[in-house]
Structures are given as C-alpha cells and as structure tokens.
C-alpha cells in the first residue's frame, strides 16, 4: 500500500501543517499578506521583524541577472518593520484567531533587556507560536548595534538569547548571520543561551552591482549606496553548507530552520536532508508570489512517497552522515565522462570547456561533430557534463581500476596504496 506522507512539522516545538514557512521579510509585512499566504498553503510565517519602527530609504532592492534570467541573486537595504507596533500586534492576533493551526513566529530586534522583555510579552499576548531573534541583518540595523552586530559576537548572542529565554514561554529561535568565518561557534552560543532552535542563514553582506555611468553602487539612493544583504537562488550553496556544518557538529543539538535560496520543493528537500526541520522562503516569493507553495507541497509529498518517508522527521538529516571531510573521501574512486553520440547535438561546448577549463582530454573528431574523450586523460571532473545543454548526453561513469578504496587519512596513516594520478603531467 502506498504511503500517504504526513507533512506535519514540529521545528523546535513550533508546529505547522507543513515545513514551508515564509521568512521574515516583505512577504510577511502584514496580517493581510500572511492570511493570503496561509490560504495559498504556507504552513507558517515569520513576521517581519518588530522593533522600534524605522524609516526606510527609497530604492531598496537590487538583483544579479544571468543570461536573461532576472534575479538569480537578490539584495536589499530595507530595515525592520516601519509600521506601528500596535498595528502589528493587532494583526498578529487576528491572524492567529483565523488560522489557529498555522505557525506564526514573530521576529524581534530591540536593544535593551527591558525592551526585549516588553516586546516578547506583547508578542506572546498577541498569540505568537514562537519567537525568532534577528541577530543577522547585515545592513543598517547593525550600525545601531543590532542585527548582525549581535550575531557576530558569540558572547552577545548568548547573553541576549538568555534574556529572551528568561522572558519567553513559547519556543525561541535564534536567526544566525552567515557573515562569520565559521558558523558553528555562533550556533553553539545560541544553544548556550538556551535557544530552542536556530534559523539560518540571514543575508550575506554584499554590493549587488555598480551603476557604471554614475559611478555609484546599487541600489542607488540619490548619489550614494551602502552594502546590502544578499539572498536568492545564488546563496543556496552557502546556506546549505552552514546548515550542514551545524547539523553534523557533535556539540550542536538544536533543531534548525533552513533559509537561503530555497525556490522549490527540491531545494527544500536538500535543506531537510542536511538537517533543516523546516525551511523558510523569501526571495522566490517576492519574485513569483505565494502561489509557489502549491508545487512545493506536491513535490515534497511525492518525493516522500517515492522514498518511503511517512513523516518529515524521517528525512530530516538523512544526508548529514554523508557530509564529511576531504580527508575521508576515497581517492581510488574513479569516474570518466562518456558522451552519448545519439543525443549529442555537436555544440562542442564540452570541447572548449575541457580544453580551456579542465584537462584537455575532449577533442573534436574532425569527422562529424561528436567529440571524442581521451579516457586515459579524463580525470572525471564533471565540467563537460555541467556545460552540456542536452540532458543525459554526458554521463560520469565509474571505472573499476582494481584499487581498494583508500582515503587520504588512510594513506597517510596506514600507507594505503593510491591509484596512479591522471592528467598530472
């Protein structure tokens, strides 16, 4: 009998009908928006960060485009909520009244212990299911001693997390900044402060571009600009690494809400396999709208059924044991590229890529357009497969070279024999 997967999620004690949450950002600016998002299918929403309402600038966003695709990377210099706190809390209460089963997490950013105490009480009074401490914002607020200014200092992080835990009765997530050398001590600091979970990554400090005629970085505010926070599809690899780095650390034990470049169900699955119990999405919703969640739910459900996962916790962290260190990789594992001549269209992008960017082992034949791979020189780097425009035309095939598996650590420690190097002339 086919499995009917249950998408119900419990992340750090915050329950939601599915693991898809809207991240704290413009899509969660108001109750009206969040209710529409819940109607579309979102399981939870992290309310746009509350604190002392600010004044924003005009011109707030910028984007990195690639070959006609808009906004593969995105950047913003917008700050926390600019709406009165009374209005925000009234709307939170209204949302919770109408959507009692959905998760409403309130993102917070204030300075003093007293301010934390008051804003946490008001959030809980409004019905918040959880709190997210914004220790990550890398622009504007950090100049005022908040956001990433907190998140970059483990001791400050731990202290303020401790205040929040002192006052809160609902679960507390600490949102971490990626603008650090190693994410692990910062997750540990939140854990030491008593956090119930962490969410990461916040945005990456960035300059999205420069107006080359006006000589001003973008986004341009009059004649000046400032650094923003980078997000969107392009940051996913960085976020995946940081999520995985915490998940595999033996001293870190908190649940993780994964954020950073999630566009679709497949991205979400990747985050979950590397340890995220829920995923948060912002940029793709800003670009395409709340409606993207329908595909996310359907895709995740089908994926879980295909792999036999009945519940979310069965897949969370499934890839973490396989995220290791270079020294543990099998140096005798060997692959080579194979071209399917039937489906090859003869563009020879693999020829140029291999010649200019790899190991000069793919050659035009001179007879027809299908290139030939010199397998004695192919190091199995994948570049040809990456540039090939035809699905499944180039495959990386494992070769039995007769050598037993041997890692660098085994080679150094036990003298395990390594296969001869290829392409190392």
């Amino acid at each position: 009998m086919a499995i009917k997967p249950d998408l119900t999620t419990d992340c750090a004690g915050i329950r939601s009908p599915n693991p898809f949450w809207l991240a704290s950002a413009p899509p969660t600016n108001s109750g009206e928006q969040i209710m529409r998002a819940f109607d579309a299918g979102w399981g939870g929403a992290v309310w746009k960060t509350l604190g002392t309402p600010i004044q924003n600038v005009s011109s707030r966003f910028g984007a990195t485009n690639y070959r006609g695709t808009a906004a593969i990377g995105f950047n913003n210099i917008e700050l926390i909520t600019d709406r009165p706190l009374d209005v925000n809390f009234r709307e939170i209460a209204e949302v919770k009244k109408r959507y009692p089963d959905h998760a409403v997490i309130v993102s917070l950013m204030v300075e003093t212990r007293e301010e934390w105490k008051e804003i946490i009480k008001r959030s809980e009074d409004a019905g918040a299911d959880g709190l997210e401490l914004n220790f990550g914002c890398p622009h504007g607020m950090c100049e005022r001693g908040m956001g990433s200014a907190v998140g970059q200092e483990p001791k400050v992080n731990e202290r303020i997390t401790g205040w929040a835990k002192e006052f809160a009765t609902v679960p507390v997530l600490v949102k971490l900044t990626p603008n650090v050398g190693d994410i692990v001590p910062h997750g540990i600091a939140a854990q030491a402060g008593g956090a119930d979970g962490v969410s990461l990554i916040n945005t990456i400090k960035s300059i999205i571009g420069v107006d080359i005629d006006r000589f001003v970085p973008e986004p341009r505010v009059g004649g000046l600009s400032t650094n923003g926070g980078y997000c969107g599809a392009a940051v996913k690899p960085i976020a995946l690494h940081m999520v995985g780095a915490l998940a595999r650390d033996f001293t870190f034990e908190l649940p993780i809400s994964g954020i950073g470049g999630v566009r679709d169900w497949r991205d979400a699955v990747e985050f979950m396999l590397l340890g995220a119990a829920s995923v948060q999405v912002c940029t793709e919703v800003m670009l395409r709208g709340y409606r993207i969640v329908e595909d996310m739910i359907e895709g995740l459900t089908d994926y879980m059924a295909t792999h036999g996962f009945a519940t979310i916790d069965q897949l969370v962290g499934k890839a973490v044991p396989n995220f290791s260190e270079w020294g543990e990789l099998d140096l005798n594992y060997e692959t080579i590229a194979k071209i399917d001549a039937e489906s090859c269209i003869g563009c020879q992008l693999c020829v140029t890529a291999c010649h200019d960017g790899a190991h000069q082992c793919i050659h035009p034949t001179g007879d027809g357009r299908v290139p030939v791979i010199d397998e004695s020189e192919c190091v199995g780097c994948n570049l040809c497969q990456i540039v090939c425009p035809v699905p499944d035309c180039i495959s990386m095939v494992q070769v039995d070279n007769g050598f037993a598996p041997a890692t660098w650590n085994q080679h150094i420690g036990d003298g395990a024999p390594l296969r001869p190097k290829k392409g190392a002339h």
Partner: protein, 443 residues
C-alpha cells in the same frame, strides 16, 4: 546616382520577419549556446563569427556586435534581411538537432546592424593611399564589398554602373517584404562613407568606356556586373502586352509604381526563387488570384522550400508539371495555352489546355553577361558565367570577378564573400609588384 523615389508600389509591404525589440533580441541572444567552432559560422559564406556577435548583444555590447558582423561582411545589414538563413546559418544551428527552435540569427544580425546604422557608428577608415587604382564594373553587392575591402587596403576605387541606381539587385530585386530599395540605398551610402570610392552611373563599360581605356587608367579590374535580362519563353505570342520578365517587373514596382488595376489573375512561369518572390509580391500588391506555373513537381522546384511554404500560407496556387506553349489575346486578358508534362518533363499527348490570365511574368532565369568579356584573352565563360578560381581570378592578369557574373546567380552573401576574396587577391597581386598599367603586369 539617385535615391529611389518615395512613390513606389513596394511600400505597401510589411516586413515578413519584423525587427526585434530590445527585449526580444536579448531573450533570443541569451538562448545561444555559444558553440565551439560553431556550425553556423561554417554555413556562412562570409564566415561571420555568429556566436560572438550574438554574445555581444547579450552583454549589451551592440557596437562590438555590429563590428564583428561588418568585419566579416560589410553588407551585413542587407544580408541580415535577405539571406536565406533557413538553409545557411539557422539551418545549421545545433538546436535543430535537439528539436528546439534554432536561434534567429538573421533577426539578431538585423538588430545589431540596424542599431549601428541608426547610431551612425563608423568602424572603418581607408588605408594609407597606395597609388593603385581599381575599376569595378557594376555597382552591386560584389563590387561594393570588393571596393570597400580595397579601400581599407588603401587602393582607390572607381565603380562603373550602367544604371542610375546603385546597389544592384539589393536595390532593384530584393523582395520588398525583406528589404525595400531605400534601405539598400542606405547601405550603399554607409559603405561609400569610407571615402575614396567613386561611383560613375550611367556609364556602360564596353559601350561608353572600353576595356582598353580601363587598362590604361587602372591597375586592376573587378567584374561584378551580375546577370543579364530575363530569359524569354520561346512560344507563340510571347511578345503580347501583359507578358513581362519577372526581374524587370519587380524592378518597376521597387523603383516606381505599377498599375495592377483590372488584374484579377496572374501567372508566374517558373519554379525558382524569382518565381516564388514574384507570386508573393503580386499577391501582396493586391492581385486576387496568383499561381505559379512550373514544369516539374513541388519536390523538384529550385525555389527554397521555406519560401514556397510561406507562399502557400498566403493562398498562392501552383500549377505543377505544366509547360506554357503559346499566348493569345482573350477579351481584355490573355489565354495561355499549356500542356501537362510527365515525370520526365515530356509533354503528355492530348493534355493541351488553356489558362486565363490578365498578367504573365516570366521567371525562367536571367541571361548571363560573360559574353561581354570573353573576347579578352585569358577570360573564359561557361554558359555565359565567368570562370574564376577561388580568389575570383579570371585567368587574365589583373582581371577578377565575383557575384552573379561568376557564380551564375547566388545570394547577396555569396557576392559579398567573393568581392572580399577578390580584393585580397588583387591586393596580393599588387604586393607582388603587378599592375595592368605596368609592363610586367600588363596583358
């Protein structure tokens, strides 16, 4: 040399392939795979580095894009419009092998070159004066390409054109839904802006100026005089009013106005590209019933399949395997007598029948002009087509040829390539200390 008048029947035509907007061009340019050793380049007679110019559109380097095009083909603006890309670059796009629409190279080339024209970007300057002078016969694409290349090398050029209009078939013959006469004139002006190319119109070499005169005054000669008049059907009544040569008729509505009042039904005799152009043009000019009459089958017609497919979509008929045998007046129009042909193009006995028509265009080929020069020692022609080597050399020292005069009637892009190749050969010949005017180089 005069610009085409504004009153021309051809102005009623819209572009069959409309110009790209910037957004369309960017979207299409970004689809290009940027192939290595790309098949589209190999398919282009002028060898334009197509992936490179397309990438430059995508990176907002349109000025550089047009430079890449013009460096290979100074007639890149007209070729973008008139090239049969379906059987050249676009036909060889690797996307065809993937079942994905091929890159619209012609439209992208038009985008870049139109912007270059509109912005007035200039890319070329004449080379340092070498003192050498080259005479070019005919002011069509072959001579223009040759003269422009020669000027970059520093050789002075004089083009002799027997007509008043310049640009050859680009001006007088291109289907108006591809390019109109005034746009061809824009290209002529743009090419001549390099300076040092004198164009003498209304002068026919062989009649007004002798080859002996040219050999006395010039160091080399390029023959780019194209094709001759329309071929004529040997059939009774073939001189009746209402029967015209297709090329001559097309020139009339491209350079002026034709009166098609009362023409309800037109027949175009032939199955080549001129015939396909002519039927589409007559339809576009408002003739209700237009049909092509061809001796062979649809599969064997020499006109491009993609052009004929477009004609069929315009409700143009064809009468296959049919040979006109005579013409007679019938009321206000004509009665064309015809026979059906079998697969070997042999008349079928008893198949004689009549076809009514108000207008008949003959598109059965054009005469070749090679006979005008075969009396010069060393120059040979085959069926009127000049025999040349790969560089356009005729066999008579100092005499080169290209374009339709030498290839028998191909595309503008072939003329552009051949003109440029001849210029390189002429320059090399000069570099070896040759000249028609010098003892060692003279005939």
């Amino acid at each position: 040399m005069s610009r085409p008048p504004s009153a021309r029947s051809e102005v009623v035509f819209d572009d069959f392939k409309p110009a790209y907007t910037a957004g369309q061009a960017l979207a299409e340019a970004n689809r290009c795979l940027y192939c290595s050793d790309a098949p589209c380049i190999q398919a282009c007679p002028t060898g334009i580095d197509i992936p490179e110019f397309i990438r430059k559109i995508a990176t907002d380097n349109v000025k550089g894009s047009a430079r890449t095009i013009f460096e290979a083909n100074v007639l890149g603006m007209s070729c973008a419009r008139v090239c049969p890309v379906e059987v050249l670059c676009v036909g060889d796009c690797v996307y065809n092998h993937m079942g994905i629409p091929p890159i619209q190279i012609g439209k992208l080339q038009r985008y870049a070159t139109d912007i270059a024209y509109d912005k007035g970007w200039s890319y070329f300057s004449a080379g340092e004066d070498t003192g050498k002078r080259v005479a070019l016969i005919g002011a069509g694409p072959a001579s223009l390409a040759c003269a422009h290349a020669l000027r970059r090398m520093g050789h002075a050029c004089t083009i002799f054109e027997k007509r008043d209009v310049v640009g050859g078939l680009n001006t007088t013959g291109v289907a108006p839904y591809k390019m109109k006469a005034d746009r061809s004139q824009d290209e002529v002006d743009w090419i001549l802006s390099i300076g040092g190319i004198e164009v003498t119109t209304g002068v026919e070499v062989g009649r007004d100026v002798s080859f002996a005169d040219l050999e006395r005054d010039f160091d080399a000669i390029f023959i780019g005089f194209g094709l001759g008049p329309d071929g004529w059907l040997a059939a009774e009544g073939n001189k009746l009013a209402g029967i015209h040569g297709a090329v001559e008729f097309i020139e009339r509505f491209k350079l002026g106005e034709v009166d098609l009042d009362g023409v309800e039904r037109a027949l175009v005799i032939g199955g080549g590209n001129t015939a396909v152009d002519a039927v589409r043009e007559l339809k576009g000019l408002g003739v209700a019933n237009v049909a092509m009459v061809y001796r062979g089958t649809e599969a064997r017609m020499s006109g491009y399949a993609h052009e004929w497919a477009a004609a069929k979509l315009e409700n143009i008929d064809a009468i296959w395997q049919t040979q006109p045998t005579g013409f007679a007046r019938s009321g206000d129009g004509l009665e064309v007598t015809a026979v059906k042909l079998d697969a070997d193009k042999t008349p079928i006995a008893g198949s004689e029948h009549g076809l009514p028509a108000d207008l008949v265009l003959l598109a059965i080929g054009q005469g070749k002009l090679g006979d005008l020069v075969v009396d010069l020692d060393g120059i040979t022609a085959e069926w009127g087509r000049l025999i040349v080597d790969g560089d356009g050399f005729t066999g008579r020292p100092g005499y080169y040829a290209g374009g339709d005069a030498a290839n028998g009637g191909k595309e503008v892009v072939n003329a552009a390539a051949e003109g440029k190749a001849a210029a390189r050969a002429i320059d090399a010949w000069f570099a070896a200390d040759n000249s028609l005017r010098s003892p060692e180089g003279g005939a």
